[in-house]
Symmetry: C2
Subunit: 250 residues, 2 copies
């Protein structure tokens, strides 16, 4: 399990400092340069860093959205708690549309073994739940965006025309008092908007790091959200609650 920890340290060093040389990394981690190179190759394949001759640079220097593999390592504990809390809010027999993303993936995990109907917008969660005997799974149609493995487009919206889910679990790239819920990719925003409009209630999930962030694509205003589940402290959620939003803190 040391290899994983090392790669994580490595990713943090590179993305934290922007650019670090291979021999520098090897010295810091106390391993050979060959190992660093191999690790960097792996991380590059996952889009976490970028290689240049002699060193590695952060992949997300100016990127709007960090790659999934990067986000999957961030704030994992908070996301897990949020996932469990959302699952607790969902009753047996409910039908649920589950947004794509690292936080909603935790919701999917927490729903395993529950007698519910789930349509995940992310392929990863679809596969996660595929072998579960209790969950009734519905696949969403649509274009699969590589990397994220999220479905978008016309076909994805059709599902929300045809099916009326009880609950939509909405993931967000940004939650802001003024701009409401936003996401990096406008095409995703379209699908999310269709979901919010079609589903009975919308539960938004967002860890604290999303607060005050305004991303490119606007999804909906906060008034369209019925419930926000987050790990943010009272001081951060007070403003939102003042706007009438119900907040569940984990």
């Amino acid at each position: 399990m040391n290899a994983k920890a090392r790669r994580r340290t490595l990713a943090e060093a590179v993305n934290g400092r922007g650019s670090v040389s291979v021999n520098e990394l090897a010295a810091e981690l106390g391993c050979s340069e060959m190992t660093v190179r191999r690790d960097l190759d792996l991380l590059e394949r996952d889009g976490v860093v970028r290689r240049v001759h002699g060193s590695a640079v952060a992949a997300s220097l100016r990127a709007h959205e960090k790659p999934y593999a990067v986000r999957a390592f961030e704030r994992t504990e908070a996301k897990e708690r949020i996932g469990i809390a959302v699952a607790a809010l969902i009753g047996d027999g409910e039908t649920i549309a589950l947004d794509a993303g690292t936080t909603t993936a935790e919701v999917g995990r927490a729903l395993r073994g529950r007698p519910v109907t789930v349509m995940p917008l992310g392929i990863r969660t679809l596969v996660d739940l595929a072998y579960d005997d209790h969950v009734r799974l519905i696949a969403p149609g649509g274009d699969v965006r590589v990397g994220e493995l999220v479905v978008t487009g016309d076909l994805a919206e059709v599902a929300f025309e045809r099916l009326r889910f009880d609950t939509f679990v909405l993931g967000a790239c940004g939650i802001d008092e003024g701009s409401g819920v936003t996401t990096h990719v406008p095409a995703d925003a379209r699908v999310k908007r269709a979901a919010v409009a079609s589903c009975g209630r919308t539960i938004a999930v967002a860890d604290w790091s999303k607060f005050g962030v305004v991303a490119f694509g606007h999804v909906c205003s906060l008034s369209a959200v019925d419930l926000l589940v987050t790990d943010a402290p009272p001081s951060a959620t007070a403003q939102l609650e003042a706007l009438g939003l119900t907040v569940v803190r984990v």
Copy 2:
């Protein structure tokens, strides 16, 4: 790699003889009973065998459709050849609907790296192609049938209303002169029929073992198929060719 071989032998012994006791299997395979039990547990989880106290019985004694894990080990070499042949029939830039099944899964594998648009009806192939940079992937909507991981239902048919694929690669449980193309699950037959009707051309794939088989659900007559790719010998395909079906032998 010995463990896999042993499990395969074990599966063949059980499914071949219908029922074998644990100690008998342990003696035959030259390993401990504990190992046999563990193997049987794994095979049972995959639906290959069924456990009873003291022995294992074939899971598919009277089952209409063998589980995916069983079929995946059968006639693999023929399926692979068929997959490559079908991929060769498909031009760059084409849009393809890809049926679920073990044979069509090979077609998907053979399409990796090709600049084509693919919508696989099976989740396994969807995931197989998910990390391919060249293939443009479209996910089909619909209910996910556990075990097979194939999508069915209304939503799956919607995709064929909205999108016009150049080619449908049709997998079959049975190919028969009189009954045409048949499949075990009627719900699947509905989707396949919608696909045949919507796509520009239909390429059917079927290894020799499917010949003369008539399954429960009727998909279409042979006249609806433009091309049949198979490993069957000329003697087996002569009748079909006499009916006007174009056959590609691999």
